[in-house]
Amino acid sequence: MLAVKTGKQIEFSAEALEKASQIISRYPEGRQKSALLPLLHLTQNELGGYLSVEAMDYVARMLHIQPIEVYEVATFYSMFNLQPVGRYMLEVCHTGPCAIRKGEWLVKYLEEKLGIKSGGTTPDGLFTLKEVECLAACGYAPMMQIGERYYEFLDTPEKVDQLLNELRSKMAQSN
């Protein structure tokens, strides 16, 4: 499903612009398109966790490439969200080695606990639950990724509850 059109003008903060130009400068002269993946990560982080059409067009202008070159890449890679997501994405690994060590239980428990199905977002917009393929944490199963961190050995309800509570209070503090 291709992205959302927001009709909003995209503008990076000065700090984000600085980061972007630093990323672009890493690649050899004339090979600036290489910066596309890191720039999409930066953009997604800056603009609320997902990529709208306008956000992708903005990246295209930064790199002097056609918008389609950004869309085709953003739709290929699983880390880019083309729809709005909750404040915290709970990305639970459901691949083989995790699945045989309570990975399936973890998905089910989170569904019950949050009252949503895998793929859904809680009504308060706090959590999106997503099942993902192998995150290279097979020995530390069951696990999930939230933002830039891995949370591993989540094999009891207590551990999961504690983590969710921590995230909730973190959110409450930042409001």
Partner: protein, 445 residues
């Protein structure tokens, strides 16, 4: 014997100072000051080091294919896209001893006469990307990277590049496409990256663990390395052990260790968890054939199976498997092979880039048939159909993802056909046995 992780428990080894105080970067000093590029390549060839990403291609030979004559820029690209289910070894190495990788890159680039290297790290490893940038910064401040390294006139920069979440980018030509800012669609080979690689330039793509072995080889010689392990499987290998064992984790083993010892010794996996019996093992990442207990512990000829390229391959695909990436998954007696095969096939279906019809369509077909069988809706002819579909994927795709998707299915049917048949003859039990799946059942076909 450990050569990669021997100092991993030294406090602060992730910092340059501690790393150097423990002998780190000695290979850079030796390579840049006392050796020629050709001499280093010769040592790596003599070492017998084979690519640690999964394919096991001799690293020195790969290096010798690099086109240096045309005078175009050459690149080293380190494959840190670690995504093969069961594999989490490169992550461990980069996280705990990042300077070993940086040191290996410098020595390797000097040998390859390359002035720019990339580390392509899977995007989910955000904290590792930060660790690597920090290590690169420290090395640069110490004059180990940048212009005129150690006053020798050799220049080198390293760029850490995040992936976007795509298993296929672990395939070297897909990785190069991705690094160029495109979709990760594998390229036709030939031409090989050694001639036409990144930006069309001569490029070597090596796994993290392969590059991390180079400093030891430079310091101790290729001959010394070749004496570790077995004649055909030189050196040590990182094995990431997971599944139903007591001690999951990353272990550095000398190649040739008996499989039985690796699984049951307290030094390694510590045996099967919860007092259960072992049922099967996937020895080298999800792509390699699954073997039942009797065949993983002993070859068909009754010889002790060893953790080496040749011993795991003994018997071909009929009774053997592969060392692969070192992703070692152990299954206890409670695990369902049909369910595991469905799970893996779902993975390959999700990760197929969609370029080749046999893989794009075939992985979906296999997933749907397996889903049907697993949930008690299958028939005996579905098992034959599944066999037929995997056979038609294997060997008919641009890149090895097709094979990687076909092999687990073929081996599961080959060694555990009775379990597939049981699912057909006992549909009610097949459904009830699966914890948590009932609510999710959608009859897919």
């Amino acid at each position: 014997m450990k050569i990669l992780l021997d100092k991993v428990n030294v406090a602060g080894i992730n910092s340059l100072d501690v790393y150097r105080a423990n002998g780190g970067y000695a290979s850079v000093e030796k390579a840049l000051r006392k050796m020629t590029p050709a001499e280093i390549i010769e040592e790596v060839k003599k070492s017998g080091l084979r690519g640690r990403g999964g394919a096991g291609f001799p690293t020195g030979m790969k290096w010798s294919f690099l086109d240096k004559k045309s005078g175009r820029p050459r690149y080293l690209v380190v494959n840190a896209d670690e995504s093969e289910p069961g594999t989490f070894k490169d992550r461990y190495l980069m996280e705990h001893i990042p300077h070993l990788l940086i040191e290996g890159i410098i020595a390797s680039c000097f040998a390859l006469e390359s002035n720019l290297a990339f580390i392509y790290v899977r995007g989910e490893f955000k904290w590792i990307i930060n660790i690597l940038w920090k290590a690169i910064g420290e090395a640069r401040d110490a004059g180990l990277l940048g212009k005129n390294i150690l006053g020798t006139g050799f220049d080198l920069d390293i760029v850490v590049h995040p992936g976007g979440g795509a298993y296929i980018c672990g395939e070297e030509t897909a990785l190069l496409e991705s690094l160029e800012g495109k979709r990760g669609n594998p390229r036709l080979k030939p031409p090989f990256p050694a001639v036409v690689g990144l930006y069309g330039m001569p490029t070597v793509v090596n796994n993290v663990e392969s590059i991390a072995a180079v400093p030891w080889i430079v310091l101790n010689s290729g001959d010394a390395y070749s004496k570790i392990g077995t004649p055909k499987s030189a050196g040590t290998k990182l094995i990431s052990a997971c599944g139903n064992i007591n001690k999951p984790g990353v272990y550095e083993i000398e190649l040739g260790l008996p499989v039985e010892e690796f699984i049951f010794s307290d030094e390694w996996c510590g045996g099967i968890a919860n007092g259960k019996r072992m049922k099967a093992v996937v020895a080298g990442g999800s792509s390699v054939p699954i073997l039942p207990t009797e065949l993983i512990l002993k070859t068909a000829n009754g010889e002790k199976r060893l953790m080496s390229y040749e011993s795991l391959q003994d018997g071909g695909f009929l009774t053997g498997t592969m060392l692969g990436s070192g992703g070692f998954i152990v299954y206890d007696e409670n695990q369902c092979i049909v369910r595991n095969t469905w799970n893996f096939t779902r993975f390959y279906h999700h990760e197929s880039c969609g370029q080749c019809s046999p893989c794009r369509e075939g992985t979906g077909w296999m997933e749907r048939i397996l889903h049907k069988l697993e949930n008690g809706h299958g028939s005996m002819s579905d098992i034959e159909l599944l066999w037929d579909v995997q056979k038609k994927i294997e060997g008919n795709t641009i890149c090895p993802l097709g094979d990687a998707a076909a092999w687990p299915v073929a081996s599961a049917i080959r060694h555990f056909r009775d379990e597939f048949e049981w699912h057909v003859t006992n549909p009610k039990e097949a459904m009830e046995r699966n914890f948590g799946i009932r609510e999710k059942i959608e009859v897919a076909v």
